[in-house]
Symmetry: none
Subunit: 215 residues, 4 copies
DNA sequence: AATGAATGAGATTTCATTCAT
DNA sequence: AATGAATGAAATCTCATTCAT
């Protein structure tokens, strides 16, 4: 068992490195499949078997990478959190150069842009009461990031008001995402225009008094 | 020539209408229990056994009145639709005497007021893709009623604008309901204030130009 | 309770007689419905509820007339036996005047003619092992009657041969009934002709030697 | 653009093909048990639990290979069809050397010889109206094979006559099988002799004129 | 390491039959 | 006497997870 170590090490190093790459790729493929299936059917109705099939993984292998359905779910939620952070990093990088209206629009579309990757996460958080904690965490991250973005843009905005405003903006961002699910494409464009209008109206009402010279 | 009566043979998948007082009470109790359990756990995780237990019904009796989990779900959805109509009837009865701000606030709270009776319905409509039809129906009823209310209040409001505005108001109403689920009571009051502010701001922006003499 | 006996007796005699007639009619209607449903779905799949519905009877009333599913089944079997006897009575009434060929054809069609009333019976006897006794009884009645008919027609036919021949004739009669179920009407006529041919061929081969003067 | 793979999502309602030796043995054992139980009790009364118990399989394993009662039934029917073909292959291999009488006897016993493996199939086809399609298929296979055998034996037999004759022979073959179920062993031997006699008589009547030199 | 067979607790649903009103 | 509500044992089927090969 230990006598042919050398030859094996050489062979294995060549063999295993691609296998590890495979492992990383495999995890990504499984997550994608899990995302799809859970987004379509919800957590309870999604089966490990279908996720395995859709990612072209054998069920036994799936359990090697994710030791349970919950583990897979948690991985999806975590990944979504990271995506949120990345999205706000991008906004913050240019926020100082944005007008209030542009900022309003930019924020409004943020969750929508994340949507396909987030759909599963939302269904997950409905599923288990225990996960309402995760939901609060996620919500809390989003609120913090929105408030932070607002204060980067308008440093004179009071901290506590920034938090309350963030709550409302988050609701609008979710409303925006809700449009994505709607099928009625005809009425969608008018509704979209109105949602943008309201969102701008509100953010202007909050931020403009803080920028007197911009008038 | 044959004596086949097809309609008799086909099993009715809807809830049975009870014909005795006992049955009527039973149905009400079951609906209440179903509402609770589904609101708590979601459709898939809610079990007929628990609904039976919580309504102090034997499983066989439950199936007498609701010949399947779906039948129970449909009954809950239907009942919610009726509640929506009743709520708007109440608003419409006094809408002419309401200021724009009062109207904004009144609408905003409508779904929230329906909430305990509607919580299950929302979880139901997430559950099954087939039920997106029911979802659209419900949504469509709500939109129609909001638009109707707006035009009773402001007859000069254009029909097509009324529809677009309704879409946004409905989103706000749902956002309001989302507060009910949140646990973070501390921040809730400030957020609530902001949501009201935005909603009023928006509705005034829409309706005030139509009432020039009210200025 | 016993004081108004007289007036009741008079009233009841008028009232009850139609009710009894109703009872007889009701039993007939239920039997018909039971026959249909069992013939279509088989004993296990037939439900008392459907039989009640199809006979426009309330389930509680159904159980007044037939105190169980088995009781209903037994009644159907018994009625079928009576029908067999009636059918053979009719044949026997004219058997002496029949040629061998006519007798062959007459017998062949007997079960077929009984078919709609017998279909349920056959499904019943498949259903429960306990009912194979009933099956044997029925079979035995049929065999006895066929043998009897043969010996009325050809008294010189030996008793034991008559029994063996009856067994084969009964098979042919059942084969004939099997045609009724077949859907392939095109090929049916040729097949029918062949079955008749075989049946005649056989019965002539048995009976003709016993009627030397008829040649 | 979407990555939905429909074929993967749709659940396969047929029996799964096992890929390990253990699985293959298991499937065979389950089929045998299913055959027995269904033959004894009929489709509706046979329970998956009993089939599992009789094949010493846990219920979950049973459902792994046969994802439903119907799947098991279909597998049994399919296997029976294969057996029919094998049986006729055997007859056809020696049919040219058979006398008419031998051929008659050989055919007559064919279904009987298949019997224990076919008993379940016949009960299955009574069970569900939907399966009358399968019944017709099976019937059609049998008829085709009988006709083919006849024409191998007597090439001068007309095609259309061959088909009609096959229908009758098939009836006789089924009659023969019906004897197997009968318990009355005493009378069976005489009846058996008569059935053989009729069957020979008939086939001679059909085929002999086509072989004038054999007289 | 990869695979797929095994497991069984638990969910939904059915229906003959009884019985109170 | 007529009705339909109540009952619960029993059947079908699902699926996350483990483990032997």
């Amino acid at each position: 068992m230990g006598s042919n170590n050398e030859s094996r090490t050489i062979r294995d190093r060549n063999a295993r490195t691609p296998k590890r790459t495979n492992g990383i790729r495999r995890v990504a493929v499984i997550l994608k499949a899990g995302e799809e299936v859970i987004a379509e059917k919800g957590y309870e109705s999604a089966t490990m078997a279908e996720i395995a099939a859709r990612s072209d993984t054998r069920i036994g292998s799936l359990y090697r990478f994710f030791p349970g359905k919950e583990a897979l779910a948690n991985a999806l939620i975590d990944r979504y959190r990271e995506n949120i952070d990345l999205a706000f990093d991008a906004i913050d990088a240019e926020v100082v150069s944005l007008s209030v209206q542009s900022l309003a629009d930019r924020l409004l579309g943020t969750l929508l842009r994340l949507h396909p990757k987030g759909a599963a996460t939302f269904r997950l958080m409905e599923a288990r009461p225990e996960w309402s904690i995760k939901r609060e965490e996620l919500r809390s991250v989003a609120l913090r990031r929105i408030a932070q973005t607002l204060r980067i843009h308008s440093p004179r905005l009071e901290e506590s008001l920034a938090q309350d405003v963030s709550t409302v903006l988050l609701l609008n961002m979710k409303s925006m995402k809700a449009f994505a699910i709607m099928s009625d494409r005809e009425r969608a464009s008018g509704a979209l225009r109105e949602l943008h209008r309201m969102n701008r109206l509100y953010l202007e009402n909050i931020l403009t008094p803080l920028h007197p010279d911009e008038n």
